[in-house]
């Protein structure tokens, strides 16, 4: 059982000092979680710490591979609105 940091991570360092298992390292192109160390904060905190401060939707996946913070959940921006705006900008 381990969380995973994936593409999208902006390397902002917010998660790294919070991890009770010291499982997060500053790697390139983005931070990584050592699956052998990650406990998903079980027994330590009510909520997994990295996923509770991460500002980027979709950058952290749970053990099933699902984003802990899916699109729209943190920013409030509906995914279809973002997609439409991006298409508009590209069309300019």
């Amino acid at each position: 059982m381990a969380y995973q940091i994936v593409e999208g991570c902006v390397s902002c360092w917010a998660c790294e000092p919070l991890c009770p298992s010291a499982a997060i390292t500053a790697a390139r192109p983005h931070f990584v979680i050592d699956a052998a160390r990650c406990t998903e904060c079980a027994g330590e905190f009510a909520d997994p710490q990295c996923a509770s401060i991460c500002p980027i939707e979709g950058a952290i996946l749970d053990a099933r591979g699902e984003p802990v913070n899916p699109p729209g959940s943190l920013t409030g921006i509906p995914p279809e609105r973002r997609a439409a705006a991006m298409a508009e900008i590209r069309a300019r």
Partner: protein
């Protein structure tokens, strides 16, 4: 070179100017005069707080604080485009050691440097070890440099002792509201006591911590400025109350800044079509909040890694690679700074003593007639906005295509008054148009939305046509003339030709979305 500017609250008003010129009426000879002596001494050389000082002194931010503990709807945490210029955007995040080396290098090469700030790109107090380590080293190795930080305030109450221990001169707290219902429209979440908290409760906690932090800093004698982002329809009607409360609690300055929101930024406000304030709306609110504290109209809303004088950005000269190759003697550099800054002070002192006889000064605008007494004012004299491209010295002296910002003046038959500055955004949407001339021209035209005319030293054929098509009159006829006189002349020419619009409609000034 001493430069006295066009704005009425500039220091050193010329005694030869008679009567009540619109741009100076009610202003003080010294814009800082209302402040207590101890506060004046602290802000006198600070280019961000003193409009006069910003012509002489430089500042820099170091981006050592990447993490943040809240989300604001005007912020996007992707922050690596060098062509963007707005708070929270940086090119490279530094370790404290790299930051110290960079500050010492900049302060050795730019001896006018008086201030070092930490403003992000996240929140300095969400990264307290990194922020405080930087301050600690600098207070030892460059003790003449003033230290500042800018925070959202969430972690502030617990760090007031540390801030005092590190001899930090000024703290800026961004306070956008006192009402949690309004806060819930601005802050989608905070990270507090090891949990992510959303909605009204998040705003309630944030507001409470901001106010506690403000009170504690004031009680300890630390100078506190409050920044607010003006978000039309969200907190604009509330900010006068914010201003009253934070000043009553001891904030020495309340700086109202316009929301910057475009879809390209990928922010909630940008993508949801939230508009920023028009220049008039901003100015009206700043006037309402300021009372007689008309300071910081020159605020540039700098990036979190800005370097140099306000309005210029020399961060490209001080990349990690370049700094690593520099050999710096911090003691010699400090001595040079002290000598250069003593010379600046001597010039400022001399300019105050004899405003019109100061060699090298350009007392242009203030010695010129504010209005043409010989020409009767037209019956209808609408106030319009006009933009100026300038490299400084109070003159219309910059090529349109080289302007990275425009000064926006409110002009009517009584004269011209600095209303705001508008940066030319060069926001790119990806590598394909990064640094592209077309994107820059589109950005310039967006920056000038709502302006009747733009004055510059020269302008190319294509931008001329594009500006005309956008309803903005380009003018290159007043190159190297004093700004205020040139604006007055253009205003009169346009009035005589019947080309002044009636009072501009607010819609005309909406930021292009």
């Amino acid at each position: 070179m001493a430069l006295r500017l066009i704005d009425g609250d500039e220091g050193g008003v010329d005694a030869t100017k008679g009567g009540c010129a619109a741009s100076a009426c009610g202003s003080r000879p010294d814009a800082l005069a209302h402040l207590p002596e101890a506060v004046r001494a602290k802000v006198y050389n600070h280019p961000c707080f003193s409009e006069e000082a910003h012509h002489h002194y430089a500042r820099m931010h170091v981006a050592v604080a990447p993490a943040c503990n809240i989300q604001c709807h005007y912020c996007n945490r992707k922050y690596d485009c060098a062509n963007e210029s707005r708070p929270g955007v940086v090119s490279e995040v530094l370790t404290p050691e790299q930051a110290v080396k960079k500050v010492l290098a900049v302060a050795a090469h730019i001896p006018q440097m008086s201030v070092l700030g930490i403003a992000g790109p996240g929140d300095p107090l969400a990264n307290p070890e990194r922020t405080l380590a930087t301050f600690r080293a600098l207070s030892e190795q460059a003790p003449d440099i003033k230290l500042c930080l800018s925070t959202n305030g969430l972690a502030l109450p617990g760090l007031v002792d540390a801030i005092c221990a590190h001899n930090i001169d000024h703290v800026t707290i961004t306070i956008n509201c006192l009402d949690p219902d309004i806060g819930a429209e601005i802050y989608p979440w905070i990270f507090w006591n090891r949990r992510r908290i959303k909605g009204r409760r998040a705003a309630e906690i944030l507001i409470e911590q901001q106010q506690l932090g403000l009170e504690a800093l004031v009680a300890r004698g630390v100078l506190v400025k409050v920044n607010s982002v003006m978000i039309p329809g969200v907190n604009d009607a509330h900010l006068a109350e914010v201003s009253r409360v934070v000043k009553a609690k001891g904030a020495f300055l309340h700086n109202v800044m316009p929301l910057i929101a475009k879809p390209e930024h990928g922010t909630f406000y940008g993508l949801m079509g939230q508009r920023g304030p028009t220049p008039q709306e901003l100015r009206a609110l700043q006037d309402a909040c300021a009372g007689d504290m008309r300071m910081m109209r020159h605020c540039r809303q700098c990036r979190a890694d800005a370097v140099g004088m306000l309005g210029e950005d020399r961060s490209a000269d001080f990349t990690l690679e370049k700094v690593a190759a520099m050999q710096i003697d911090p003691v010699a550099a400090m001595q040079r700074r002290q000598a250069v800054q003593a010379a600046i002070e001597a010039r400022r002192e001399a300019a105050r003593a004899t405003p019109s006889a100061q060699p090298g000064s350009v007392p242009v605008a203030l010695t010129l007639p504010k209005r043409a007494v010989e020409a009767p004012a037209p019956a209808a004299t609408p106030q319009v906005l006009m933009a100026v491209a300038t490299r400084g010295d109070g003159l219309v002296n910059q090529h349109f295509g080289q302007a990275t910002e425009f000064l926006i003046y409110a002009v009517d038959a009584d004269g011209a008054r600095l209303a705001s500055r508008q940066a030319v955004d060069r926001y790119c949407t990806g590598p394909s148009d990064c640094g592209d001339a077309e994107a820059a021209l589109a950005g310039a035209i967006r920056a000038l939305a709502g302006c009747t005319a733009v004055l510059c030293a020269k302008i190319g054929f294509e931008p001329w046509g594009r500006l005309e098509a956008a309803g903005i009159q380009p003018d290159g006829e007043h190159a190297d003339e004093p700004i205020e006189a040139a604006l007055t002349a253009v205003y009169r020419e346009m009035a005589a030709a019947g080309r002044l619009p009636a009072e501009p409609s607010p819609a005309a000034h909406r930021q292009a979305c």
